[in-house]
Amino acid sequence: MLELIFAVLLIAAFATLFIKSGRIAAIISLIASAMPLIAVMDWANDFGIKAFSFGVENSMDFSIAGITMHLSITSFAWFFAVMVFSLLPPIFLFSYSFFEKNNGFFPFMLFLITAVFGILLASDFLTLFFFWELMAASSFILVYISRDKKAIMSYLAFSVLSAVLILVGIALLYSQSGTLIFSDIVLNADKVTVSAIILMVAGFAVKSALMPLHAWAPFVYSKADEPFVAFLSGGLSKVGYYGMFFMLFALPGAKILHQYFNSGVATYLLAVIGAISAFIGTLLAFMEDDLRKLLAYSSIAQLGYIAVGFGIGSSLAMAGALFQAFNHAFFKSVLFLAAGAVAYRTGKWKISELGGVGYKMPFTFMAALFAIFALAAIPITSGFAAKWLLYEAAVSNKYIFITPIMLIAGVGAFLYSFRILYGVFLGENRHDDIKEAPLPMIAGMFLLVLPLIIFLIFPGYMLDMMHSALVDAGIGTISHTNYVIRTGTASYNTLAVVIGMMVVMIPAFLIYVLRKQKKVDFKDNFLAGEPYEFYGYISMHAANNFYKPIEDVIMPYLRKGAISFYTALYNAMGRVSDASRKIYTGLSQDYTIYIIIFFFIIVGWLIW
């Protein structure tokens, strides 16, 4: 059965490679992408959750002469699999309308899914690395389709960096323990193991766009096809965090680091990096004018929270981190898809050129609105529970540096949320000639919003889902009922919030219902007495340099960021390269002299 899933995915991938029509390819992909989801649903029974059973086995050994690939599902991989694979059918549904022609999106997306399925099932390092690289390769081709130079270059460079870091890490671990199979590995707190863990975590962090290694994200997120970017931000970044989770808690690397450094300094550093990532990502996000870049920086920021949770490592923090990962997978996919839908209708990306789209595309706007509420962690959405757990974890561990930074990043999220809401969907109605997005697109987005609504009142369901993952990783879970989460120091009752809200809503609701009003056009607006028509030639949409005052204050400190560092590195490397090519003078006599010098050097070296 498991072979069948791989086979179906690969056959579908090869089939779509030769299909010109985007519609047919989307249908094939939709069906194929449901296969891993079926398996994931089936495995829910293994981890204490009642579900249908289709009889998918949960492990498989795949062997060709000499090399055996061990595949089996673990509880934590399952948790990540749920979030990654539930994204796919809606994304393909969205793609049905998005792609008229099959430009290579579908086949390589299916290869990518195969690879991700392999990564999550891998139970030895060779399998893990093989599928990791397959993922890097297929996602690179998906980036390559975008034809953008910076995106292609940065993505390939960072993918290779991540791959090589992981490979060296695996090699180091292998040299210490002599085996590649996860269950056989026994770690000691020595220098090699510790550096292996750090290298591998860094390698996985590249895919998760953690701060100093994030430089590819803004370029790739802003140029590749939206459905792919939705999966890249929603799904693939989580695969990176799966790797980190695996290294730190399943192996368990965090304990080794604790033993080696005699303190939690290494994991604390991870938490600090995550917090700084959240903070700076937020600052960069709200100053961005390109909608997709804004979402990219926002992704970097939101993913930073997960790293904070991993760094703190308590049961509270881990629950928060996994919850945040789950939420982020869904709301960010919705936002990227909504951005795609807006671009599909208007063909614009700049927030300063958009505006008023929400009046014409109300359903797209509603999906995006809900996603934004989840992103900004408004307490009536599931987004808040995750952040709340993280804040609680940070405060109860008395992290005086991380906590305020995380909180202020959370406030910053409101700034860019408003930028999206106002700049794209509200404000001046500038797009009279557009229609609502096609039905499959809307259906895709609303399917992705659905989980966010389910976990709104019942965050306990989510904690149940991650229960066995946390227990298996030796972290332990926190006490909760379906709608109350309790920590040592405080509790959060979603039901109380909802009921309280309903009670106090009554007066507001009365005014809301009983108001008698006249709907006025956008043009009937107070502009210091001037009629709107007088301003016909000026944009009334305040979206250019929206956060200019604060940008002037902050930007001088952020100008020398990671991206400019990498650019400088690239330029310096270019100069070294140019210098190194001076060796090749193009003169045969020089080359002959080189040969003779080389000969004498090695003779000298060998004899003396």
Partner: protein, 442 residues
């Protein structure tokens, strides 16, 4: 039935018969190459089943006579060289002289791989080198001639170094048989031994594109037509790096391995760094080849210590031979014209930077595993660095070629696709690991 001799004798004979068959020379050459490729498959099957073949020619016994030795790795290399030569020849549109030279070049490269005699090796070197000089010049423009002349000057300097090295060995051991030399190498005067090693390394190193002996590489690759550049990257260079591997095994001293490692690292670094900012496509690919040769040498330098070295070297050779040859084949156009060349370019680049499902992935995997066995972390750092550099310039290369450009020349891109698919096949079926394991022991 199948003997390695045929693989050398048939093309050699055919090459000399070429002037007689002027009309149908292309079909003739192609069928000879195809025959050779089939022979090499049969040879490989035989070697794989029955173990290494040692064959003497004309009845003289080993220390004296001409001697062929075929083990798994050399059979595989012969297979690759002949297979790619066959595919590559499809693109040839020149006269019979070209076909003749091409056959000679292939003969020489095959001979280097199959021979068990050091002087024979030199002869085959000369054959393939002389053929290559002429092949590079066959494009008949200024750059081609310039490249050819540089290649020729350096090649002949290299040959003379090699010859001196052989002379020293012969003067000491009175033997030219590789196995014989390997067995008795310790009885040599150490200074003479080192001297001969240095001469040989320098001599072969010129062909094997080692730094700093590789001055001819960028010019020759740039000047040559695309199919010849492609030939250079799977033929002579691979054969000569294999020759260096044999040299290392013969001398089998820790110092020589160490030296090879350093030379390999230097070659890798210089090649990759020089390619980093190179805007000219063919020169960039040439520098990149230099880097890859360094990588192969690093892998070979670990032969003594770890069993991962040979699979690593083998997979990198396959990956590089197939990917780089196909990239050279589709180069020289204004961008990837059509879908085939686009995917060939992608697959080639992904193979070179070591991503599955290409052979390059396994090369990288085994190399790093070998390095981990040896705990040489500095080398690992160098490889990380060079991999990232390589990724950057290949990404730029891919982007530059994205333009719609001219319409696709299927005559070039289909052979290229076939070549690169070899890398994919090897990557998907890592069963070669078993076959390549435990070979090349003298």
């Amino acid at each position: 039935m199948v003997t390695p001799v045929l693989m050398i004798a048939i093309p050699l004979l055919a090459a000399f018969l070429m002037p007689l068959i002027k009309k149908a020379h292309r079909y003739f050459t192609f069928s000879i190459l195809l025959l050779n490729a089939i022979l090499s498959v049969l040879l490989f099957a035989k070697v794989y089943n029955d173990g290494a073949i040692y064959e003497t020619i004309a009845g003289f016994s080993p220390p004296v006579g001409i001697y062929l030795a075929v083990d798994n790795l050399s059979a595989l290399l012969a297979l690759i060289i002949n297979l790619f030569a066959t595919i590559n020849f499809v693109t040839s549109k020149k006269d019979f002289k070209f076909s003749m030279l091409y056959l000679l070049g292939v003969t020489g490269a095959t001979g280097i791989v199959l021979t068990g005699d050091i002087f024979n090796m030199f002869v085959f070197f000369e054959i393939t080198a002389v053929a290559s000089y002429a092949l590079v010049a066959s494009k008949k423009d200024e750059k081609a001639v310039e490249g050819s002349i540089k290649y020729m000057i350096l090649g002949s300097v290299g040959s003379s170094f090699m010859l001196i090295g052989i002379a020293i060995i012969y003067s000491q051991l009175k033997s030219l048989n590789l196995y014989d030399i390997a067995a008795r190498i310790s009885s040599m005067d150490p200074k003479m031994m080192w001297l001969s090693f240095s001469f040989l390394l320098t001599g072969i190193g010129v062909e094997a594109e080692l730094f700093p002996l590789n001055g001819w590489v960028p010019d020759a690759y740039e000047g040559a037509s695309s199919n010849i550049a492609s030939f250079l990257s799977f033929g002579p260079s691979k054969a000569s790096i294999y020759a260096i591997a044999r040299l290392l095994i013969i001398f089998s001293m820790s110092r020589t391995y160490e030296l090879a490692l350093y030379v390999g690292i230097a070659t890798l670094l210089i090649g990759e760094v020089a390619a980093f900012m190179q805007k000219n496509e063919k020169r960039m690919l040439a520098y990149s080849s230099i880097g890859q040769m360094g990588l192969i040498l690093i892998a070979f330098s670990l032969i003594k210590d770890t069993s991962y070295a040979i699979p690593a070297a083998f997979f990198i050779i396959v990956s590089h031979a197939s990917a780089k040859s196909s990239l050279f084949l589709i180069s020289g156009k204004k961008g990837f014209g059509g879908i085939t060349s686009k995917y060939v370019g992608l697959a080639g680049v992904l193979s070179l930077i070591g991503m599955p499902p290409m052979a390059g992935f396994w090369g990288k995997w085994y190399l790093l595993m070998g390095i981990a066995d040896e705990k040489m972390w500095a080398v690992a750092a160098v490889i990380i660095f060079s991999a990232v550099i390589e990724a950057i310039y290949f990404a730029r290369y891919l982007h530059k070629n994205l333009g719609e450009g001219e319409s696709e020349d299927l005559g070039y891109s289909i052979p290229a696709a076939v070549m690169v698919s070899v890398s994919i096949v090897m990557g998907i079926l890592p069963l070669i690991y078993n076959m390549a394991g435990g070979v090349l022991n003298a």
